[in-house]
Amino acid sequence: MASLNDYLLVSGLLFAIGLAGVVIRRNIIIVFMCLELMLSAANLSLIAFSRFNTLEGLPDYNGQMLVFMVIAVAAAEVAVGLAIIVALYRSRQTIHTDELTTLKG
Amino acid sequence: MLSLIVFLPILAFAAILLGAPARRTAVAAAAANLVLGLWATFTWKSGFWSFSVPVLETPSLNLAFGMIDGMSAVMIALSVIVTLAATLSSKAPEGREKLWFGSVLLMSAGALGAFASTDMFFFFAFHELALIPTFLMIGLLGRGDRREIAWKVTIYLSLGSIVLLAGLVWVANLAGTFDMPSMIAAVSGGELAIDPAVQTSIAALLIVGFGALVSLFPFHSWAAPAYASAPAPIAMLHAGVLKKFGLYGLIRIAVPIVPEGMQSWLNVLLILLLCNLLWVGMCTISQKRLDAMLGNASVMHMGYIFLAIAAMVVTPGSTLGFSAAVLLMFAHGVSVALLYSLADRIERATGTLDFADLGGLAKSSPALTFIFGIAAFTAMGLTVSANFVGEVLVFLSAFESYDPAAGLAPIQIACILAIWGVVISAVYMLRAFRSIFHGPATGATRAAPDLAVTDRLSALLLALPLLCIGLYPNLLLNLLK
């Protein structure tokens, strides 16, 4: 049986990979995917906690509720985010972050 | 009923926004306010004028107007006089009449509100209200580096206001009320005893806060460029009226409520005011333009009023310093407003304010020369002008505590040095008068037109109080009793 530590370790590694992707990659779509990875890594931790801390014999469904919410919000976020990317691409013809420097102060 | 005086300019402002003819509305409102304001000034003792509307239950906050003492009355008179003169004499650039006269009215309302408020919160808030049009007008319609100067003024005055706000909040917190008369009564009645150490801190905040608003050295470097750049009515209203807010606040709040704190800063205050008089005075001498010179001069003369405040601190029981300060505030406000309006007039007539380009204006514009002469000699404190009375009372108040056996106290030494300012102001004012009006005429001045009727009216409106009070100071001093 895998221990809680194992799950958390795997979840942490996935989060780290996502973080590295966000920092390293310049293609905004891939950056976006990496964000999804990070969210999922968090989801894994939540599910693991929910399983390893039972409540009256049953897994703690509050954790699973949270995961449910995260997935739903992530879906919405992806929809809006991708729409923004499309609009951005239309106006700038690029999705590379280093060419998108309008925010430069 | 004071609310009428305060809100009349705001109503006129609204009317202008809604499309009333700007200049006529402004002049009408200012003239009506002059009548009302002078009436209020001469009958301030009657309760008729007080007004109060509750705004908040806890902490108890009232929109309250009233005449706390003669100083409020005199300041209101100053405001209405200068406002009318500013609207009468100024000429808005094409297409900007709404902004121009609206700002003047708003500033007037702010100043009147601040001087009429008995409540500390609104006292502060009205002043801030008046600063907004100041910034706007300097930034939009100023001369020279207007953006930079507007920023400079904004930053200086806002920082001053913030420091001031901290001090005021502290005071209000200790007193448990925003109502200034009851605060003062509590202190003099002994119910409110503030710890001396706390008083020292509060006094420092108030001196720095109010001082920055009054361009006390070393917070003075905003004033001269601002007045040189600001459109004439703004310079008149700010230098003449709004700047007095800081002095008014020091006299109204700092001196009665934290006397021991002020006492502990006395020597610092004396040094700073001497810097105002002598240091800034020397700066004034080396100015090459009339507007820059007037800006520095008005900073310099603040020193005398601070000297009166110092005298109030030294001799708490006496009313001499108080009367001197109020009289000088009035006199300085009116004379500075007159000078700015005439300087503006000179610039409109000749196109320059550079001493090197001017000269011999007395030949083409005798009326202007006459009025400017009155203004200039008044500003340098020549006798039979209100400024002289103010200055001599200031000096007397500084010497009131003199004990020949004990020798000269710091305030007397400061006073003696301060009198040197009289010489300095004569130097620069005479130079200015000499180089503008005397000597052979130059190209710029040869065909300059003399004062028009409205110019004369506004100049008279300002010059008459100066002369009347100079000839018979009891006219104003009786109001202070």
């Binding site: 920092v23 972050t97 280093d98 998108l100 420097t101 309008t102 925010l103 430069k104 102060g105 | 400079k152 050295f217 070393p218 917070f219 003075h220 470097s221 905003w222 240091w279 800034v280 020397m282 700066c283 004034t284 001498i285 080396s286 006496s318 009313t319 001499l320 009367s323 011999g360 007395a362 020549l382 006798t383 039979v384 002289f388 001599v392 009372l393 010497f399 003199y402 004990d403 020949p404 056996a405 020798g407 007397q412 006073c415 003696i416 009198i419 009289v422 010489v423 004569a426 130097v427 005479l430 130079r431 000499r434 009006f437 005397h438 000597g439 052979p440 005429a441 100071p473 009891n474 001093l477």
Partner: protein, 597 residues
């Protein structure tokens, strides 16, 4: 006492009406002259009256400053001088200023001056005196700058006002100190204080300092060294105004004020370092001015320096505790110096505004009346024994100096010699010999409206010493023989030297650049004090203000915040990766600090 009020207000009311209502009306000069005549009559009526009348001017708590007219021997006597000379000058000006375009402004200025001078003379307290003290400065400024389009006149006016302001600075401090010591501002109060033994009880040093500071005011107004430089320059004004203001009355106000002070707090208060300093400054002024006068070519300037010198005499007398002698000399000097100035005015008028004595000459024959009156004035000034009023008053001063200090007595005798010398020089060069220019050769005797005042003054300058009783002037005891001898000898030497040295000369046989250049006072003031001590200091302070306060203090704070802003702006590179890196690093640091630290 209504008369006193009329006397006080009449000139200013006339002046205001002239300037504001009548404006360019040609009747203005006559109105002004009529008013001054009325004032003179009132002064005569008021002679010998005593009393005080006034109203509260500024009242604050216990302090009550009054505008009060004080009538006593001193003030009524002085009023006769002021209004008398004033009236004659008004009459003289009617002709002298007839051609001037701004004649109305001139007469308004004279009215303002008469008002202010009346105020000084009748004032009952120091504040009121100070008010009018400055007002005469203003009217003097206005009259000197009458021809303002000339740069020299405009500069002279400015200089005069500034020198007076310097004096006023000191005067104000003196008044404050005196108020601090005695608690009184009124002359009456001061006298009561002094009678009550206040002088002995007061700390002597402070009292002396107060007296000296007040004397500083007199130094400005009466043009004592080192503030004397404005008076010669003030000759840029119209000559009648010079006669009234810068010779007879205003410049004497310093002496009047000192004597007023001496009467109030008593001579004892002067009997210390203050009195000595005053006497010495007076003596030095008398000597230096006389020396400078010997080498001037402008007739008005010669008279101006002689005025300085005579004022020095008066001040010296006051300093030597002989105020009566000073006042007596003031009284006689007013008449004969006004005469000399008006005479010079007549000469200048006749010579088409030629003021250089070397361009005159031979006027004796062409302008007999003027020459005769000028001679009378000269005689009074050089103090021809027993027949001129100047002799009697000068003897008193010499007597005071003789009993006071030998050195000052010697100076006074030398000054008497120099006076005789330079006045003889002026008279010989300008009036005797033959004409040295067209202007002079075309000169013709002036009209009666001008020479009648001259004649009246000429009579007065001869006999005024005998009119002291009716005119309420001060006149102390007679002088001793030794002094008469000294003054007669110096007079004879001076007359002889002046006459023989300058008779028939076409140019100055003496050339002493130091005296001609006024002992370099003006040069030093303009080039050193004004240029370096004032303008350069002002420029340096202005620079420091810009640099230190505006640049470093305020600007430094501004630049510091701007710098920080720029620093943080760098971080806003617009790079998403950088943001996310910073964000991730921040999160990790938070974890580090919460978990591991």
């Amino acid at each position: 006492m209504t008369l006193a009020w009329i006397l006080f207000y009449l000139p200013i009311v006339t002046s205001a009406v002239n300037q504001l209502v009548l404006r360019r009306n040609p009747v203005v000069p006559y109105v002004a002259t009529a008013a001054s005549a009325l004032c003179f009559l009132i002064s005569l009526v008021l002679l010998g009256r005593e009393g005080e009348v006034g109203f509260n001017w500024a009242t604050i708590g216990d302090l009550n400053i009054r505008i009060a007219l004080k009538l006593d021997q001193l003030s009524t006597g002085m009023m006769v001088i002021v209004t008398g000379v004033g009236l004659l000058v008004h009459v003289f000006s009617l002709a002298y200023m007839r051609e001037d375009k701004a004649v109305n402004r001139y007469f308004s200025g004279l009215g303002l001056f008469m008002f202010s001078m009346t105020g000084i003379v009748l004032s009952a307290n120091f504040i009121m005196m100070f008010i009018f003290w400055e007002l005469v400065g203003l009217s003097s400024y206005l009259l000197i700058s009458h021809w303002y389009h000339k740069n020299s006149a405009a500069d002279a006016a400015k200089k005069a006002f500034l020198c007076n302001r310097l004096g006023d600075f000191s005067f104000m401090i003196g008044v404050l100190l005196l108020w601090g010591i005695t608690g009184h501002l009124t002359f009456e109060g001061l006298r009561e204080w002094a009678d009550g033994g206040g002088v002995a009880a007061a700390p002597a040093g402070v009292l002396g300092a107060a007296v000296l500071c007040i004397f500083g005011g007199a130094m400005g107004k009466s043009a004592q060294v080192p503030l004397h430089v404005w008076l010669p320059d003030a000759m840029e004004g119209p000559t009648p105004a010079s006669a009234l203001i810068h010779a007879a009355t205003m410049v004497a106000a310093g002496v009047y004020m000192l004597f007023r002070l001496q009467l109030s707090i008593g001579s004892d208060a002067f009997d210390n370092f203050a009195g000595t300093t005053i006497a010495w400054i007076g003596g030095i002024t008398a000597l230096l001015a006389a020396l400078m006068a010997t080498q001037q070519d402008d007739i008005k300037r010669i008279l101006a320096y002689s005025t300085l010198s005579q004022l020095g005499y008066m001040i010296m007398a006051v300093g030597l505790l002989a105020g009566e002698a000073g006042m007596f000399h003031l009284y006689t000097h007013a008449w004969f110096k006004a005469l000399l100035f008006l005479g010079a005015g007549a000469v200048i008028f006749a010579c088409h505004h030629q003021q250089n004595i070397w361009k005159m000459g031979g006027l004796c024959g062409r302008m007999p009346i003027t020459s005769a009156t000028f001679a009378a004035g000269t005689a009074a000034l050089v103090a021809i024994p027993y027949v001129t009023s100047g002799f009697y008053s000068k003897e008193e001063i010499l007597a005071a100096a003789y009993s006071g200090s030998t050195a000052l007595f010697a100076i006074a005798v030398v000054v008497a010699f120099l006076t005789a010398f330079y006045m003889t020089r002026a008279f010989v060069v300008a009036f005797l010999g033959k004409s040295r220019s067209d202007d002079a050769s075309h000169a013709r005797e002036v009209k009666p409206v001008m020479w009648v005042p001259l004649a009246i003054l000429a009579v007065l300058s001869l006999i005024s010493a005998f009119l002291t009783g009716p005119l309420n002037a001060y006149r102390p005891h007679e002088a001793s023989l030794i002094i008469v001898a000294a003054s007669v000898v110096s007079l004879a030497l001076g007359l002889a030297a002046g006459f023989f040295l300058y008779r028939g000369k076409n140019k100055d046989p003496l050339n002493i650049p130091a005296f001609r250049e006024r002992l370099y006072f003006d040069g030093i003031y303009d080039n050193v004090i004004v240029r370096y001590f004032q303008d350069a200091t002002a420029a340096i302070v202005h620079f420091l203000d810009e640099f230190l306060i505006n640049g470093l203090l305020a600007g430094g704070a501004a630049r510091a915040s701007q710098g920080f802003g720029n620093l943080f702006r760098r971080l806003h590179g617009g790079s998403l990766q950088a943001y996310s890196f910073a964000f991730g690093l921040g999160v990790l640091l938070v974890i580090y600090f919460t978990v591991f630290f």
